[in-house]
């Protein structure tokens, strides 16, 4: 039987590359070069599968890959998939849920503490040699313990975050499309309507996937409902938050600050006003970025790809593309 051909668009661990090599022929992007759409098209004319992160998969790309059967995201989010276009072409898509939950939840907790307790600001000020005696109150921050954590979108990562928050005796409230009563019991979380979560949270964490319904879920109206000493944390997908409205909220003091790992445009524009704000922590989309987790994600993504090509099915196919 002829071996399937794969295009590997992102860097993966050597061991994962070897695993793929055992099952498929593959070509890999030259990572010393900047990725371009045309460059990608040049590689996918005869491939059966693509292993990638965040590559836009729509009819525009699909028409250049007539043999394509499966695309495997090395990430849990898959808003890069145009589900309708992929359905129309019969191309399957997979993702890597589960493996990164703890690593992302760790970072979110880090964003909560480093914004609330102003660690980033204090570090920069201290390193600049500005520490003077008798200014203890200069970096007074907001207590984390016994504060209210509001989670919008209670999926696996939301639950992993709630578990951490339990260690800090935080009061956990959440909103989700569907109530999760077992999670409420396990984690001591309380379900509230979205407005109530917005109004009560000291730290509001957005954890929804990006869909048409969640695009700009947090806009001017939502930010105005938040407490003026509350912080917004986003490590899900940038466009879930209306960034223009967030910038206005921060400039006008509707909220106290923000911790961001994701943006409407990535990498972020150099002239984005967020980059000038001391009360905003900006990270370069590193929610899942530890070696162990990235390696595991690579393994899962490669396995899902091979499963689809060899057996026509995988538990990692995204829900919208599963064969009922």
């Amino acid at each position: 039987m002829k071996r399937p051909k794969i295009f590997i668009a992102n860097e993966i661990p050597k061991s994962v590359e070897e695993y793929i090599g055992q099952h498929c022929d593959y070509i890999m992007w030259d990572f010393s070069k900047r990725k371009t759409f045309q460059g990608i098209l040049d590689h996918i004319g005869d491939v059966d599968g693509i292993l990638e992160v965040g590559m836009k998969i729509d009819k525009n790309l699909l028409k250049h890959a007539p043999k394509l059967k499966v695309v495997s995201n090395i990430s849990v989010g898959y808003n890069n998939y145009n589900i309708e276009d992929m359905k129309a072409r019969g191309v399957l898509g997979t993702n890597t849920p589960g493996v990164l939950d703890n690593t992302v939840a760790d970072l979110i907790m880090g964003l909560i503490i480093s914004t609330g307790r102003r660690i980033v600001e204090a570090d920069a000020d201290t390193k600049a040699g500005n520490w003077k005696k008798g200014e203890m109150d200069k970096f007074f921050g907001k207590d984390i313990h016994h504060s209210t954590l509001g989670i919008i979108g209670m999926g696996r990562i939301g639950e992993a975050l709630a578990k951490r928050a339990n260690g800090f005796d935080m009061d956990i409230i959440y909103y989700n499309r569907t109530r999760k009563e077992d999670a409420e019991k396990r984690l001591g979380a309380r379900y509230m309507e979205m407005d109530q979560v917005l109004k009560n949270a000291d730290f509001l964490v957005v954890m929804t996937p990006l869909t048409e319904q969640t695009h700009h879920l947090i806009g001017e109206g939502e930010l105005k409902k938040m407490k003026d000493d509350a912080f917004l944390i986003n490590a899900s997908r940038g466009p879930v938050v209306d960034e223009g409205a967030l910038i206005e909220a921060l400039q006008k003091g509707w909220i106290a600050g923000a911790g961001l790992d994701v943006y409407e445009k990535e990498p972020i524009d150099k002239n984005n006003p967020l980059l000038q704000m001391k009360n905003v922590v900006t990270l370069p989309h590193i929610g899942s970025a530890t070696k162990k987790t990235r390696d595991e994600m690579g393994v899962v993504a490669a396995r899902a790809l091979v499963e689809v090509l060899e057996k026509g099915d995988s538990p990692y196919i995204v829900p919208e593309l599963r064969k009922s």
């Binding site: 503490i113 800090f168 590193i286």
Partner: protein, 324 residues
């Protein structure tokens, strides 16, 4: 009867000044600038009670302040007290245990995650306009959850840190302390280890011991050489618990991966301290207890401790060395 004269050696909120004013005559001080040892020395003559933050209470000051009966420290640490000199002068010292535990434990976790996941470094990376491509394998950090943490010094703050690590982050927690804490071991599922074993096995080493003759330079060359290469040191106790020169050497030689430090051998830290140049070190200006709420609670405690003693009531929160 004339009210006793007292000195408030650090700005506290109006309600506290009013409370003290009802019971005592407060010596006027200029709170618009930082109050120094010399300012306090100058006004100490007829003073019977003082509330101070970290002002050294030494023989020189006690020789001039002949009427002193009590000095109340706003903080929990009291290495600013010359205990022998105070005993000889018959001056009681009080401190503020139990108030800042949660706030400090929150900050310790913040330092730990910020260092492991490179939050301060990557915030500067983004804000400085260096984020230019989506590929971010060079920005990876170290996992927090599921790793091993060793806590040196298992007092109240240590317990709160253990709780966060164990319940929240599923970390395997071990500790070293002068005395074993069997109840804490059971409550949080943590285990006692000899110092060297703890150092050589931990991914994170957290220092929470008080500063005494025995803990001075507890962490030196030998101890750093026992630590894992990818381990991180967190110090939120007192600076001199760490031999800072040895730490700087260990960081330069990459014998450990990084450090999160809230305390230093000399505070404020000197501008030419090499730690200020290190991206893998998170520095904060001794603010682990720094939230307005906690500071107000600490100051209230110190004011009440002082007033009680001056009014002849049963003293509370006297430092252990002066009890009984």
């Amino acid at each position: 009867m004339a009210k006793p004269k007292v000195l408030i050696g650090y700005p506290v909120k109006d309600e506290i000044m009013e409370y003290v004013g009802e019971h005592c005559e407060i010596v006027p001080m200029d709170y618009s600038k930082a109050i120094t040892y010399d300012d306090i020395y100058e006004k100490i003559d007829d003073v019977e009670g003082a509330v101070v933050l970290i002002t050294p209470i030494d023989k020189k000051l006690l020789d001039k302040g002949r009427k002193l009966k009590v000095v109340s420290n706003i903080t929990v640490g009291y290495n600013n007290f010359d205990i022998d000199a105070m005993k000889e002068a018959g001056v009681l010292g009080t401190h503020s245990p139990g108030i800042l535990d949660d706030t400090v434990a929150d900050f310790v976790m913040g330092l730990l995650i910020s260092t492991a996941r490179r939050i301060t470094e990557l915030n500067s990376f983004v804000k400085g306009g260096s984020w230019k491509k989506i590929e971010n394998n060079h920005l990876m950090g170290l996992d927090v959850s599921g790793t091993r943490v060793g806590i040196i010094g298992m007092g109240r703050i240590g317990e709160e840190v253990a709780r966060r690590c164990s319940l929240g982050f599923k970390m395997e927690v071990s500790y070293h302390n002068r005395s074993r804490k069997v109840e804490v071991e059971k409550e949080f599922g943590i285990s006692y280890k000899p110092m060297d074993e703890l150092l050589s096995e931990s991914d994170f080493v957290i220092l929470l011991t008080p500063l005494t003759d025995k803990t001075h330079h507890l962490m030196g060359d030998r101890e750093f050489s026992l630590m894992k290469k990818n381990a991180i040191l967190i110090n939120a106790s007192r600076g001199p618990v760490v031999d800072e020169k040895a730490l700087i050497k260990a960081l330069h030689e990459k014998r450990i991966a990084g450090a999160g430090l809230d305390v230093f051998e000399k505070e404020p830290i000197e501008e030419d301290n090499p730690l200020l140049q290190m991206d893998n070190v998170v520095l904060s200006p001794h603010i682990a207890a720094g939230t307005q709420r906690t500071y107000d609670d600490l100051a209230w405690n110190a004011a009440r401790c002082m007033v009680r003693i001056l009014e002849g009531e049963e003293p509370v929160n006297v430092i252990p060395e002066m009890r009984g």
